[in-house]
Amino acid sequence: MGTATLEVPVTQKTATSARRIKVEIRRQASPDAKATTETFEIPYRPNMNITSLLGEIALNPVDVSGRETTPVTYDSNCLEEICGSCAMLIDGKAMMACSALVDRLLGDKPDKTITLAPLSKFPVVRDLAVDRSVLFENLKAVKAWVPIDGSYDLGAGPRQQPQIQEQRYPLSNCISCTICMEVCPQFNDATGFVGAATIAQAKLFNMDPAGSVLKEERLRALAGDGGIQECGFAQNCVQACPKQLPLTEAISDMGRDVFVQQVKDFFTR
């Protein structure tokens, strides 16, 4: 990755031949350490994304003043926006690092500094890596699974009609990135709101012919404190979701189902 092999595109109008990308990263050595900011300059290559940019820093962890530092910690795995691990604040907004393209972030301002920071609503583990296990806890709380375990062979599952499949498929695209929670004004310490992803997954499994056996339990769970009622319908989730889940539709549908379940329970339980 020497500079000699760098090909500079003709569209570039910088005076020096080796154009560099400025990036400012919020860092934190441990969950309780003080947060600091470090600035780096990375040789430009076309079609970079934020994970490849962080990879460059890892190859040569020296900040802009020439001071040696540690490679930046961040979560990533698939590098193709499917594992959901690399969410972070890029230029202040929650995005997936692997699908955030540097060229697009810079737009027509090649000298702009890109800023990276950890998601703001999850405890920092180190640097850009945060602990998002609250989503896992929430998915468990609504039993977001199909119960298929038994002490004997349960046989084939019920048939799933293609119409149901079609409605479920977009919801099954969730990658548990937690961006919908990060951008939600109601997802915070005060409300303990469950967030859009969990509500959408509850709908997904309620619509599964085998998973629907737990439907009532899921609907009751979602009426607990921090449940679906905390939604303020700001609709940021559906705007920000990298996988374009129909989150507002899911929340609306589940809002009705949860209400009907509460009324039923009131009169029959």
Partner: protein
Amino acid sequence: MAASAPPAPPSTTRRRGVQPLRAAEGHSYLWRRLHSLSGIVPIGAFLIEHILSNFETWNGPVAYGKQVLFLNSLPLVRILEWVFIFIPLAFHAGYGVYIWLRGRSNVNVYPWAGNWGYYAQRITGLIAFAYIIQHVWRQRFTGVDLPHNPGMAFHKVQVELHNPWMLAIYVIAMIATCWHFAYGIWLFAAKWGITPGDRARKRFGYICAVVGTGLCIMGLASIYAVVWKYPNAPVNALPDQHSSLTLPASTSLATS
């Protein structure tokens, strides 16, 4: 590439960050849904009644006085006033402030239409709350007692709006309240699963906009009628109405 340290092992202390769902626990569901419902009935229904009644000012002080008289002659009007107006309003406003305090608006970072709507719903709610406190205090509980003197309603409001600051407050509050109500119906339909589909929500949005704009125009027209259309209204437009006829005494729907 860059691996991260595994999340801290679960400790016995309260976990950091946002707490997970308290599945099927607590009563916030009931309160939050009551808040949502109370905004439509009875408060929204009362708002419509109030603006329609006020629109009688368009027909002059006598017509308005008669409307106030009619409302005050409803059976059990004092009970109606407390059960369907004051108590639900106090709850809706109080719980609304609680909701506002627990939200973390981020429209500066994510300036999207729905996020603006979320923010505006809180701002307009606060404006309406502050306005209604002074409005109820000054028009219903202090000054001329309108339930006893319905004919004096027009003049009382006219005197109030004579102050240009008060006039500005009334205009701003009228717009804020109609916005809050119209967007509130839209939110109600979305949250209760009446309009789950994107297109349904959009379509219903237009309907809410028409309702809100219509109410707002009627409200502003009433203000216009009081201030400019019938200047120098008589102090009492219904001089023949003795207070003894306006039973039951001392409450008024139209002025609260």
